[in-house]
Each structure stands twice: as structure tokens, then as C-alpha cells.
Symmetry: C2
Subunit: 161 residues, 2 copies
DNA sequence: GTTGAAACACCCTCAAT
DNA sequence: ATTGAGGGTGTTTCAAC
């Protein structure tokens, strides 16, 4: 899906870095920040937009202030390991609106789901729907007491040391 | 921190919903989508920007394509439960660049950290630094085999059923 | 890669309804 | 709440270097 001919240099990295932190930065400020002219920066941005490296731009909402104040990490162990069952289970989990992240993981557990709910009653609605008509071996929820860091941008230019 | 006088109606919810999905949507398209005039939409957007409900706008990068292809959920059990120790531990974890999310959780474990690394060697750098000079009871990593859903917007208007 | 300029789209404000 | 219009800002393209 990514154009492998796309070569990414440190200017591109700086652009992506800045966009991660602030998706609304103006092209003038972006150009200043990375040390390019507005024109050159625009050309690179255009290339990056076409490269597939930029997935989306999202506004982050203070969900807790709107009542979505309970985050739960749900670890799931399944009993079935066929392709068909896995496909069915995926669709089932994707259909639950409280789900924000959904990973297939290795180790003791098979899946990890991060759900954001409007309090415990809403979490229980999620849980009841999760286990309805689906045969799961174990389901355990780890309740977030405090979000210390959420969705922190990755430093693309960090030295590998 | 939130102005409690701010009343949020279904138009505001629709605006926040749209911004979650696309933080770069033009005000014209946004107004069309939520069914308001551009002018009315702008006024609401202004109010929302001042309300604290809008935290940030971030561009999501295809990190795996840039080599950041290993996501690990790290569960941590501590041995110390004083305020001072907790403050020190927080700063320690925040200083590690691979950390994207950091929660204090309830249940069997004390903390959950989501890290994104450039492969296993980079994860091991994180791990070694994590346990250096810090006395942890247990550290277990759950390695993501597949990201099925990542950072899905919350449907603010979903019926509570 | 750079600057500068023109054309266009978008944002913000205001007036009137 | 709405439409419409004007001015300022930001984006995009182009020409020249």
C-alpha cells in the first residue's frame, strides 16, 4: 500500500513529527519549524499525503468531560482457533461501539481490547454483549484508575540509543 | 478546568463527532455535515474551542511503515506504594521515548504501558531502561501480533443501549 | 533547493433578517 | 437560528533563479 519509491529524509521526518504534535499547524509555521521555504514544504507535504504515510488527522476530545470516564483494558482468552471463528469474533468486537483499540496479542492471552465507556453500567453493557453468543475461555478487565499518558506522539527522530 | 456553564447539545455532539473522524474538515463541509449554516457552525466551534472539550488535533502516521512496527503492552507490578516512589516512577516512565500510553490500573497489576518500538532490539532497550534503578515486582510484556482497531473515534451520539 | 506573485479557497466578522 | 457580503489569512500554482 505504501509507495516504496518514496524516500523519506530528515526533513520529511521533521514534517511528520510536527504534524503528529499539531495536526492544525499552518504551512507557514510548519515550513519555519522544519527549516524549509513554504513552497518546498508544500511540495513535500503533498508527496507525503500521497505516500500513504499519513493515515488521518483527528481531533482529540476530552471524553471524560462528556461522561466517557471509564477506560478498561479487557484481556480475552478464546477457546476456538479456527480462521472462521476468528473472523466472526473480529466482526463481533468491531460492532461494539465502546471499543477504541483491538489487538491480537501473543503470550497468555489472545486479544486485548481497550474500551471507553460511560461508567460501569455502560461497561457492563459492553461486557454482556461481548460474551453473548460467543464462547470465550476467559475475560478479564483491568480498570484504568488514571490516564497518565494518552496517545503521546512518537519521536521519529529519536536516536536509537 | 472545564467551564461547567458550557451546555452541549446534539449539534455540538455532531461537531465533535465529525472532528474526531476528520480533524482537517473545512468549516463549510463541517457545517453541511451537521446541518448548520457556516456561520452558526463557526460560532459553536469557537465556543467549543474555548470550553476545553477539544484537547488537540493530531495527524496519525503509519508508524509501522517507518520501522516502528512492534507494539507491546507492558503490565507492571510494583513493590512500593508511597507517593514519593509513585512520583519518581512516573517521571521515569515518561522519560522513555517508546512510551505512547501509560495508565495506572486496578486489579492484579499496578500500571499498564503501551510502547511502540523499532523491533525487538528497541523494545529491549526500553525494557532495560525501565528496570534500571527502579525496583519492580513483576514486568510482563504482551506483544501485539496484529492491530485490528487503533484509536477508533468514540461515537458520542450512540444511544446508551 | 530558493523567492515572489497571482489566483483561489477558507476563515472570520459584520449587517440584516 | 439564517443568508450574504467584505476583508484578511492560508493554500496552491506558477515563473524565475
Amino acid at each position: 500500500m505504501i509507495d516504496n519509491a518514496t524516500k523519506i529524509d530528515s526533513f520529511d521526518m521533521a514534517i511528520l513529527n510536527a504534524l503528529q504534535k499539531d495536526g492544525r499547524i499552518s504551512q507557514r509555521d510548519l515550513a519555519d519549524r522544519v527549516g524549509l521555504s513554504q513552497n518546498a514544504c508544500w511540495r513535500r507535504l503533498n508527496r507525503l499525503n500521497g505516500s500513504g504515510l499519513i493515515k488521518a488527522s483527528r481531533t482529540e476530545i476530552a471524553l471524560a468531560e462528556l461522561g466517557f470516564d471509564l477506560t478498561v483494558f479487557v484481556m480475552i482468552r478464546t477457546r476456538h482457533h479456527s480462521k472462521d471463528w476468528a473472523d466472526m469474533f473480529r466482526k463481533h468486537v468491531e460492532s461494539l461501539p465502546q471499543v477504541r483499540d483491538f489487538y491480537r496479542i501473543g503470550g497468555d492471552w489472545d486479544y486485548l481490547v481497550r474500551v471507553v465507556t460511560r461508567g460501569m453500567a455502560d461497561y457492563d453493557r459492553f461486557y454482556q454483549r461481548l460474551i453473548t453468543d460467543v464462547d470465550l475461555a476467559t475475560v478479564t478487565g483491568f480498570f484504568a484508575m488514571e490516564s497518565i499518558i494518552e496517545n503521546r506522539p512518537v519521536d521519529l527522530q529519536a536516536l536509537q540509543s
